[in-house]
């Protein structure tokens, strides 16, 4: 396996955990992309403001 790829995967594991990374790897193995897969992309990118904790 390419060294940079391995580093990237490990960094993703550190951020998201093993389960999420497995799902990413499975995504790359996908052979057929459906309309539902495409529309689900919108769930990945949330409104920027939603990541910022509200000040009290």
């Amino acid at each position: 396996m390419d060294k940079e790829l391995l580093i990237t995967i490990l960094e993703l594991i550190a951020k998201y955990g093993l389960t999420a990374v497995i799902s990413i790897l499975k995504m790359f193995k996908k052979e057929e992309i459906t309309q539902a897969d495409i529309l689900a992309l919108n769930d990945l990118v949330k409104d920027p403001e939603s990541y910022i904790p509200k000040e009290e």
Binding site: I13, K15, V21, I22, Q35, I52
Partner: protein, 149 residues
């Protein structure tokens, strides 16, 4: 934490290496998926940094301004990809290429900004993440050994 940000730099590499020779639709989907994952990770980290006081309001506003553009371009990308999946025409393909070019450009701008703010992260967090990675390497190896991946 710095290690986490490093993947923002190399995320496109994972796309290049894993995409292989699949079709335009599949390649575009996978590119958008990795950009989506990287955006989400980057913005979560920005939220963490801001809540810990390691990011100024001005820096935050800079990130939010570009992130809003990325979000808009991403939605456009999803809509054009959806249209292309429905009707595989050269017109839809051209529209999709334009949308992806715009998204890639804006993502590059956001990524540069995120990386610029890395020096504000302290070494203690870096060590914590490094030790987490060590533990996760063992789990990842086990998963590969068991054939989960």
């Amino acid at each position: 934490m710095k290690n986490i940000f490093k993947f923002l730099l190399v995320v496109p590499i994972i796309t290049m290496l894993l995409i292989g020779c699949s079709g335009f639709l599949s390649n575009t989907y996978k590119t958008m998926y990795t950009v989506g994952i990287a955006y989400d990770a980057g913005m979560r980290s920005i939220g963490d940094l801001y809540s810990k006081g390691k990011l100024t309001k001005d820096q935050l506003d800079q990130v939010l301004a570009i992130a809003s553009k990325v979000k808009k371009a991403y939605s456009t990308g999803v809509a054009t990809l959806s249209a292309y999946e429905t009707v595989d025409s050269s017109e839809n393909q051209d529209k999709l290429k334009v949308a992806i070019d715009e998204l890639t450009k804006l993502w590059g701008d956001l990524k540069s900004l995120l990386i610029l703010f890395i020096p504000s992260i302290d070494s203690l967090e870096l060590e914590k993440i490094s030790s987490n990675i060590d533990g996760l390497i063992i789990k990842a190896n086990y998963a590969i050994y068991k054939g989960v991946i």
